[in-house]
């Protein structure tokens, strides 16, 4: 790997981003599965809070990402490591559909589930290992 990865600053800025991300998830209400399910319950007791969360998050990235990507390279690495842009393929659509069913069942997606694990909530002590199992099942199927 490139020299940037050896840099202590590369690790520290990743930690700082993680801290800010985790605090944002916790403060926003996104880490509360009941609030998430309230947002998804568009035909019932709809809770619009998550519109503000997603609006705020995407508002910032939609402004900042194009400015950041205009630069030649990141501050602490040789290049931007971005997924190759393509049109939506079957994998993305089917995977997202499956992901959404799981998200709608319990109200947890990966980030908030990890934040819940940090608070040692009973539900995430079960959900997070199950989520890792799901990722490993996908890996096992892909290897065949």
């Amino acid at each position: 790997m490139n020299a940037g990865h050896a840099s202590i600053y590369f690790s520290l800025s990743a930690a700082a981003a993680g801290i800010l991300f985790g605090l944002g998830l916790a403060l926003s209400g996104m880490a509360d599965p009941q609030r998430v399910l309230g947002f998804l319950d568009v035909f019932g007791s709809f809770d619009p809070t998550l519109i503000f969360v997603l609006g705020g998050a995407v508002g910032v990235t939609a402004l900042a990402f194009p400015i950041v990507l205009r630069g030649q390279q990141p501050l602490l690495a040789e290049r931007f490591d971005l997924p190759i842009e393509s049109t939506a393929d079957k994998q993305v659509l089917i995977g997202s559909a499956i992901f959404g069913i799981g998200w709608g069942l319990a109200g947890y997606c990966p980030g908030p589930a990890l934040v819940g694990l940090g608070a040692w909530t009973t539900e995430t002590l079960y959900f997070v290992p199950a989520m890792l199992v799901g990722a490993l099942i996908h890996r096992a199927i892909m290897r065949r």
Partner: protein, 136 residues
């Protein structure tokens, strides 16, 4: 603080965190993708992931711990449903190559059409699932 304001501020913090990671490290702040790189480690590409996740878990977890009203109590959620949901979320996020953060926060920020399709798809199936569970 009004929950909508907390949501907006928290959301902006999430967006700022993703922007910081892209600006300094050149990486996409997709939680399932970062986690996957720890689960299936590649040499020289693990430490930053562990530190990002540790920061997220410890800081976010501490907030929930210190501010109890940040989490509403849900009694006796069925264990089987929780495990099934976890497997579906873990599997689906890998198959889709991204979750709420990777496709939602970062993908939409890059104006990616693939991510927009992903977000619309998982929003639709999640809303439909909640409809089935709560209203049928």
């Amino acid at each position: 603080m009004h929950p909508w304001l907390a949501g907006l501020i928290g959301g902006c913090m999430i967006g700022a965190a993703a922007s910081l990671l892209l600006w300094s490290n050149g990486r996409i702040a997709g939680v399932s993708g970062i986690l996957n790189g720890v689960l299936l480690p590649q040499r020289g590409d693990v430490r930053w992931r562990i530190l990002f996740l540790a920061g997220l878990i410890v800081a976010g977890g501490s907030y929930l711990w210190l501010v109890p009203q940040a989490l509403s109590v849900r009694q006796e959620f069925p264990l089987g449903l929780l495990l099934l949901a976890g497997v579906l979320v873990g599997f689906g996020a890998r198959m889709a190559n991204g979750c709420t953060s990777g496709h939602g926060v970062c993908g939409l920020g890059r104006w990616s059409r693939r991510s927009l399709a992903a977000v619309m798809t998982f929003m639709a199936t999640a809303m439909f699932t909640v409809f089935l569970v709560r209203h049928l």
